[in-house]
Symmetry: C2
């Protein structure tokens, strides 16, 4: 595990204060954060489990004053002992008949006045961290108070600007996985399966100090591949194959997320040409990132490179050419023609242009997609990943 | 990665048929599965990402006939190519303004009649895999049809009985991590931090073929520990310490989840005594598991062992002494005095008794909790983990 100083209690406090500022602007009297990653964001919870389906963990942030943790009994004191949170209410769980419902209702009623508007995870890309039926019961038990969306006014903007400590984690993940990717050609062999190739990358990253390797997608095909997900499989890598690996890995719960390509035996000219074009499109995307421009501007700069080379309609973006990331991947904004989010320093962006091309071998449709992780700085951006090589590394050795 | 034959398409088809049988009993006209693990359960999706917050993936299972995948464009053909699903509808995503809402509404309206009752994740321990606002919009656009809970009548029971292929994955995870735990004392040193100790276990499990190690909780203290979560930290392990590691690891997305103890320098008598008692309580739990008994019966058998030794009120269970697991950990049933679920062959159970005791050193309250993973068989149960040693292994060597 990469050793970084723990995130300071005052940073969590500052996150809550920023949330309260955003709540004031949006006219919210409180927010209730229920998802695992929102709970972690505000509390500093060091629980390892990705799901808390039995005993949800929530934090209620009033308009002013300290937040209140809402957890099952037994977790309450742990939260006080291991995080900055000092106010906790609990219930005897697990108890599916009342899994925090009464405790959450009474906390809301005690901390907010009648007719309060309480933000909760509702809006785009958010997830509720409670059973829906429990949310409905809570909604019916808080009098004239009502739940409204907390995602757009509070959760999204508060998390979008990463702190120095958050960036240290993301940057460390980017650097470890970059180093792992760089070492991978020395480990890959003709005859490896996609699964074996992905395992080799995981081993290299693990040796170098990555915490977790949750998303290691590997996809291959002769003269290129067509997907960025739904792999790896037991397909064996042979001469003429291109292997694409997309690595989402974490350090202290913060993600990196980027991909690299590897060729077996040789690189066919169609793939080489597409690789070069998308490398240049990535470069254009990186150059476009600076405070004040929109996510859609970054999309257009990359799109222009592709359209100039290949004509209109040749960009394949599955709706976008990148996104952001933090305690989850992916996060908003999307680098899409529709997303008018204005970039500000501290935002992370995954610069991810793509194009379709025809296989050198059989004319079938292939996808070329690159990805680099950057953070917006005062004057432009810092590329946190080690830039992809100018051409695809070629593996010659066989098992 | 442990190599197991892929789960056959006919098994996914059988899961859907079982769901349809349960739907008929419950009077449901369809179920919409939205959470990542429910989607995976019915489709066999091999996407690696634990979250799909940008582009939700759903499957609509009508009362009769084939299920329909509902995914963003670009994922549609992948689902057809890589899973057994043949019917897919898609939308151009990401598009937060209509992230599948219209596509889901039209699929529901096409496949179900007016006034249909559609099960979705609502009930105990379920999670909705869509933004709440999108769920609400969908609810308002399907006419007189209504969403009702699908968790209790369908999702829970259909997933509770594990197939041979599912058990092969869970058993493999149990065996790999058992082997890793057995080898760990040879790697641990006085002076290691909790984090380092956990990393050593992860490395041993990784070498032995575990896929992922999402939850490796390590907690230590002089003469015992008090928690089962909120760790590991940079605390250094010294003479008199007891280290508790709880390992939730996966093979092909299926979990094992169990813990082990390690002593440094020596084992104090209070800890040794509590360890022995809870080993015996675990044994009683294992012996109690058989078809036809309830989860609460297993709880009582373990509780009796503890109460006989220490008197009433000495069981510390945080509300339960175990649970089930599968594509997530934890899953229902809970091994609690309240849970009257009747055990049937194919159910997994995490047998997890605990008690509080006083530290030999300072009289502070400590927690002793063991855990073994079993599956209910026709005549009793199979213990899938390698049984914990009869006494705590003691690490003498220092760094």
């Amino acid at each position: 595990m990469a050793t970084l100083p723990p995130i300071a209690h005052r940073e969590y406090e500052a996150r809550v204060h920023r949330a309260q500022d955003l709540m004031a602007k949006a006219g919210l009297d409180a927010v209730l954060a229920t998802s695992e990653y929102n709970f972690r964001y505000f509390t500093g919870d060091i629980g390892q489990s990705p799901y808390q389906t039995t005993r949800p963990r929530c934090i209620l942030i009033p308009a002013k004053g300290k937040p209140v943790g809402l957890v099952a009994r037994g977790i309450d004191q742990a939260l006080v002992d291991t995080t900055w949170v000092t106010e906790v209410r609990s219930w005897p769980g697990p108890n599916p008949a009342d899994e925090g419902v009464s405790a959450i209702v009474s906390a809301i009623c005690d901390l907010t006045s009648d007719q309060s508007r309480i933000g909760i995870e509702m809006g785009p890309e958010s997830r509720l961290g409670l059973p829906l039926a429990d949310f409905m019961r809570i909604s019916g038990l808080i009098g004239e108070r009502q739940f409204v969306d907390g995602q757009v006014p509070v959760f999204l903007p508060v998390k979008q600007i990463k702190s120095t400590a958050e960036l240290a984690r993301i940057r460390t993940a980017c650097q470890i996985v970059s180093s792992g990717f760089a070492a991978l050609p020395g480990e890959l062999r003709l005859g490896d399966t996609e699964v074996e190739a992905c395992r080799k990358l995981e081993a290299l990253c693990f040796e170098r100090g990555i915490d977790k390797t949750p998303k290691i997608t590997g996809i291959s095909g002769r003269g290129g591949h067509f997907r960025t997900f739904a792999g790896p499989t037991q397909r064996q890598l042979g001469a003429g194959d291109i292997l694409f690996i997309d690595a989402g890995c974490t350090v202290d719960f913060y993600w990196c997320d980027f991909n690299r390509h590897f060729a077996f035996g040789s690189v066919d000219p169609a793939t080489a040409k597409a690789y070069e074009l998308i490398w240049e499109a990535t470069e254009a995307g990186i150059k476009a990132v600076k405070p004040g421009v929109t996510a859609s501007h970054v999309w257009r700069e990359m799109n222009d490179v592709i359209v100039r080379a290949k004509g209109a309609g040749t960009t394949n973006s599955f709706g976008r050419m990148g996104h952001s990331m933090g305690l989850t991947t992916t996060e908003l904004p999307s680098i899409s023609p529709l997303d008018e989010t204005v970039l500000v320093p501290g935002m992370t962006l995954n610069i991810e242009p793509s194009t379709l091309y025809e296989s050198h071998y059989d004319g079938s449709v292939k996808l070329m997609v690159h990805e680099e992780d950057v953070v917006v700085t005062e004057s432009g951006c810092e590329v946190m990943t080690r830039r992809a090589p100018l051409s695809i590394p070629v593996i010659i050795a066989s098992n």
